[in-house]
């Protein structure tokens, strides 16, 4: 199962994902995917480093799956974080696509 690292950006709290270049992106589509455990561990370490550097808070490794070419967190909670409130589709990331 692939994973991504999700976090909240420290200064504004917005949900962000660890990106391939080591930075953080707001859309899960741009996130770095870990295909194996070794890579996942490396990404967790990068998340922790970013937390120590005051970039993000609460980095977390979450499972995702690909559905019709789109990366979607497997858990509903994380899926809602990756899109925005299901009751306000005019807000959050889903509104910025």
């Amino acid at each position: 199962m692939p994973w991504v690292v999700i976090a909240n950006r420290l200064r504004d709290g917005i949900v962000v994902f660890l990106a391939p270049g080591g930075g953080w992106v707001e859309q899960i589509a741009g996130s770095r995917l870990a295909g194996n455990e070794r890579e996942a561990e490396e990404m967790v370490a990068l998340g922790q480093q970013a937390e120590a550097d005051q970039e993000v808070v609460a980095p977390d490794l979450i499972a995702v799956e690909e559905r019709a070419g789109v990366i979607v967190p497997t858990k509903r909670r994380e899926a809602i974080r990756a899109t925005g409130p299901s009751v306000r589709t005019d807000l959050g990331k889903q509104a910025e696509d």
Partner: protein, 554 residues
């Protein structure tokens, strides 16, 4: 309403400035998240699913139009154009930036508001009757005592690190609109045979994981002794409350484990030691604070307004609104107006910046510039001239705030759930919206009559589901949202904890289940019975049979 003195104003501003420095230190890395988290929580700033959430205290639900305008401004400038009225009479914003928070706190300070003690294991904002000071049947205005409690409990050095958070509610009416029996301490003002005012003191109520109805530990406490007695209760709790297990740390568990009598004895002993001390309230102090809550300058008006009757005959929507949203006032010629923040299909308690501003305007024009936030997530204009009702209704209707459903099924209480809350197990708002749409027909709604639906997105029970006539608890079962139904709860003077009716339902099934329960009630009710009366008369079996007879049961 209460106005800050110089000390209050200065203190709140200093706290905002202090938070500015703390935030700067966090952003530069001088403070780690671990060090900073308790500091931001002390200022009401939580990290939720999508962003930071700021919880702003509305002391015992009383708000001025000026304050509401400031909230509208914050919603517009720092949030995404709306706020949320909470079940504890507070206001929350969902999309706050950490870097903006110091500025927001300074803005709040400029209108005598803050977020202190809206989080943490301290005494939280005291809640009260939203009709306080105006209710026709009121025995005594509770606000003055809420204010005395606020002053005593704010930053109380001894009670800043209690075993767990602590909530106090006060009512001054026989009709309990403050849910005093499900608070850590509930206070019910009444009069003794000599006509003196005092409190029935109820301790150890609460919802959450283990719901309890509070126990009366004193039938009559003279008002002068309010603070000394509260101090005695808090001391006992602070010393004996469990700190080893978060889930057993509330005072309800202590009272339950000790037994009411033993607990009461401890409190009385403690009280004996301090009752003659400095906490006795001198009459001058009671009068001084009471003066802030003196009735507004009511006009001498006739209670009968013939024009009202004419309009209500011509406008059924106005008639429905008068019946459901308008309540009798103690002053002739005036009425209490509930502003429903539960439009059909809307998220309960969500209010836009434009609506806030418009209501502030209406409060200025029609209700002495004051409003209340209710624990059922509505607003109240307390002192409206009956002759103004029609004009007010038209203006509220124009901004979507005149849905005639207060106290009815679609006036549900609903926590933010998994759409916003990081602790949630399931979504709650979409379920409330579906139910609201299913029962949108005002005629049907009124035929069903008084029915309190309360819903929480997890066992923490912020949506008070245990005490809903119908309660819904969202859970997660192997990744699927599951909704458990409870029936027969009640949060008024006849408080009861609802009973789980059977296996849960999925998001669609729960809406059908509610309809099924309502149909069962309609088929069984006798003349004049409300849902809760029928339920109490027939018990849960007929409801259960009908619910699970069909295929809806999972």
């Amino acid at each position: 309403m209460y106005r800050y003195d110089e000390f209050d104003s200065d203190f709140v501003l200093q706290r905002a400035r202090q938070f500015r420095r703390q935030t700067e230190r966090r952003l530069t890395g001088e403070l780690s998240e671990e060090q900073f988290k308790p500091l931001r929580l002390m200022n009401g700033l939580y990290l939720q699913l999508h962003a930071y959430m700021l919880r702003i205290n509305v002391p015992y639900g009383c708000l001025s139009s000026r304050q509401l305008r400031k909230l509208a401004h914050i919603a517009r400038v720092y949030d995404k154009g709306y706020g949320h009225l909470t079940t504890r009479q507070n206001v929350q914003f969902n999309w706050i930036k950490l870097e903006d928070t110091p500025a927001i706190l300074e803005q709040l300070a400029s209108v005598e508001m803050h977020c202190i003690q809206s989080s943490g294991n301290c005494i939280r904002n005291t809640t009260s009757d939203p009709y306080a000071g105006a209710a026709a049947e009121e025995i005594h205005d509770p606000r003055l005592y809420c204010e005395l409690i606020r002053q005593w409990s704010s930053l109380h050095p001894e009670f800043s690190f209690l075993p767990r958070k602590f909530k106090i509610a006060v009512t001054g009416s026989p009709r309990d609109r403050a849910a005093v029996k499900v608070h850590d301490i509930g206070l019910r003002l009444h009069r003794n045979p000599a006509g003196e005012a005092g409190f029935e003191v109820i301790v150890g109520g609460g919802l959450g994981r283990t719901p309890f109805i509070g126990k009366t530990v004193r039938d009559f406490l003279p008002v002068q002794q309010l603070l000394s007695y509260l101090e005695a209760i808090l001391r006992v709790y602070n010393q004996l409350g469990r700190r080893d297990n978060k889930y057993k740390a509330r005072i309800k568990v202590l009272v339950h484990e000790m037994g009411t009598e033993a607990f009461q004895k401890c409190v009385e002993e403690q009280w004996e030691q301090i009752r003659e001390g400095g906490l006795t309230l001198p009459q001058e102090e009671i009068d001084r604070i009471g003066a802030y809550f003196a009735p507004p300058a009511y006009e001498d008006l006739s209670d009968s307004v013939p024009a009202l009757e004419t309009t209500r005959r011509e406008e059924p929507a106005f008639d429905a609104w008068l019946q459901n949203n308008v309540v009798e006032h103690k002053q002739a010629g005036y009425a209490i107006v509930n502003v429903s923040v539960k439009a059909v299909g809307a998220a309960p308690g969500d209010i836009s910046a434009d609506q806030m501003e418009a209501v502030a305007e209406l409060a200025d024009r029609f209700s002495f510039g004051e409003l209340r936030v209710t624990h059922s997530q509505n607003l109240v204009l307390c002192d409206v001239r009956k002759t103004d009702l029609e004009a007010l209704w038209r203006r509220l209707a124009a901004i979507g705030l005149a849905t005639p459903n207060v106290g009815l099924l679609t006036d549900s209480i609903c926590c933010p759930g998994l759409d916003y809350c990081s602790l949630a197990s399931a979504r709650s708002i979409p379920v409330a919206q579906s139910i609201s749409e299913r029962f949108a027909d005002p005629g049907r709604l009124r035929d069903i009559g008084e029915l309190q639906l309360k819903m929480s997105g997890c066992i923490n029970a912020c949506g008070h589901h245990h005490v809903g006539h119908i309660g819904i608890l969202g859970a997660d079962k192997k990744g699927e949202e599951l909704y458990q139904l409870t029936l027969g709860g009640s949060a008024d003077e006849n408080t009861a904890i609802g009973k789980i009716i059977g296996p849960g339902f999925d998001a669609e099934g729960i809406v059908d289940a509610i309809e099924n329960v309502v149909e069962t009630y309609l088929s069984l009710r006798q003349d004049g019975e409300r849902f809760i009366d029928t339920y109490q008369r027939v018990g849960r079996d007929p409801f259960k049979e009908n619910l699970y007879a069909s295929d809806q049961g999972r």
